[in-house]
């Protein structure tokens, strides 16, 4: 069965959606991700949707749900790389994803996650040590 890979990177889980999402795939992702969060005790989840070009109300709600579940499991979620068309569609559908952090790309998303968890990036830590 088709699955979306979930990568563990330190304290964070990395989900990159590279294929068109269909409803069952989203359901599977939701189950896999919550299971992985509770098993690994991850504190942050980064979902990269830069390849996602079509979104409907179901997938939109799924994203919000995943973020909500991750929060309950004590993991901050950041959604990165949303395409303009997807953002417009979600707004028109009234799915404003409240409580979900967003960032333009993976790099900025990681920074947002570290900030949210109060952990400075290695560069920032170096700068702090020097100062």
């Amino acid at each position: 069965m088709e699955r979306i890979p979930i990568l563990k990177m330190g304290d964070f889980l990395l989900v990159t959606i590279q294929v068109d999402m269909h409803d069952r795939l989203a359901m599977t992702l939701q189950d896999d991700l919550t299971e992985r969060i509770s098993r690994t005790g991850a504190h942050g989840v980064l979902i990269d949707i830069s390849s996602l070009e079509i979104v409907d109300s179901f997938i939109g709600r799924m994203l919000a749900n995943i973020a909500g579940m991750a929060r309950v499991l004590d993991a901050a979620t950041v959604v990165v790389g949303m395409q303009p068309a997807v953002a417009i569609t979600l707004v028109e559908l009234g799915l404003e994803l409240p409580g979900v952090r967003t960032a333009l790309d993976v790099d900025k998303g990681m920074r947002v996650l570290r900030h949210a968890l109060g952990r400075p990036t290695p560069q920032e830590a170096d700068a702090g040590a020097e100062g």
């Binding site: 959604v79 990165v80 790389g81 949303m82 395409q83 303009p84 997807v86 953002a87 417009i88 979600l90 707004v91 028109e92 404003e96 994803l97 967003t102 960032a103 333009l104 790309d105 900025k108 998303g109």
Partner: protein, 286 residues
């Protein structure tokens, strides 16, 4: 078009009709000799008469939408367009066709002599045809005007939504005019597109040039801001005039969660702080 003498009359008196018609047009109050030289008017009238003669000979009915009238319709389209561009009013353009009635009717009366019934019938046919042709020129005139308006609207839409990069990671979007649904869509799309292209984290939406803000405009603004947030960029709304601030509060528009600043300068300072650039007030070293 059986039992009519119209084609025959036009054919027999073509030159005389043209002369009568020209005399009439030159004497009319709607003549615009400033816009159209009489030689050109004569040429147009001659062409109209010639095409009318051909069409009335071939046509089976008074329906000017029929294929037989196509050359005449094309000619009128051309005339109407060029007159529209020259600045003629729609009624002045239509009068070109209507003024042909008088010369034609007097020739018809001559041809029928005492046959009142035949004359009445032919007069009716000629009126039906010329009225349709006159209205046709008005329609073309109007369509040409509408095309101009459409083009201008499109140009205004494109002109009015520049997204400016003011610093690394900071975009500014000065809005001017009225925000309706169509414009908001264009604004939203161009802003989001530029966010992707430049990787900007902050976008300043300046509404100094927006005349009025009502609930709809506010809702459009909030939609744009939400869409930008979903992509990972923060928006600052600046240039809110006191009256607009009052309107927003009176309307009960909820702008909590949106950073608002009075001036673009304040917004820029805030944006620079946000991307981690510090600005000091000292002048640069020479």
């Amino acid at each position: 078009m059986e039992g009519t003498k119209i084609p025959e009359v036009i054919e027999r008196h073509q030159t005389a009709l043209l002369d009568d018609w020209m005399k009439q047009q030159l004497a009319a109050s709607t003549l615009r000799s400033d816009l159209l030289p009489s030689a050109e008017l004569r040429e147009q009238s001659r062409e109209f008469l010639e095409l009318l003669r051909q069409a009335s000979r071939q046509a089976g009915s008074t329906d000017v939408a029929a294929p037989a009238w196509q050359p005449l319709r094309d000619m009128l389209t051309r005339v109407s367009r060029s007159r529209g561009e020259q600045g003629f009013s729609p009624s002045e353009t239509a009068t070109f066709v209507f003024s042909f009635k008088q010369p034609l009717f007097s020739r018809l009366a001559e041809a029928y002599g005492g046959d009142a019934k035949g004359l009445a019938w032919d007069t009716w046919l000629a009126t039906a045809i010329l009225d349709q042709l006159g209205l046709f020129t008005t329609e073309v005139h109007q369509k040409a005007r509408e095309a101009v308006i459409m083009r201008q609207q499109q140009e205004m839409l494109e002109l009015s939504t520049p997204v400016v990069k003011v610093w690394d990671g900071v975009l500014a979007l000065p809005l001017i005019g009225t925000l309706d649904s169509a414009r908001t869509q264009v604004v939203m799309e161009s802003l989001l597109q530029r966010i992707v292209e430049t990787g900007a984290e902050v976008a300043i939406i300046d509404i100094t040039g927006v005349a009025t803000v009502d609930t709809l405009v506010a809702q459009h603004l909030i939609k744009t801001i939400t869409a930008a947030r979903l992509m990972g960029a923060d928006c600052i709304v600046s240039g809110i005039r006191p009256q607009i601030a009052a309107t927003i509060v009176h309307l009960g528009v909820d702008l909590t969660g949106v950073v608002t600043k009075a001036s673009l300068a304040d917004a820029l300072t805030h944006a620079l702080q946000r991307v981690g650039v510090s600005v000091n007030g000292r002048p640069a070293r020479a």
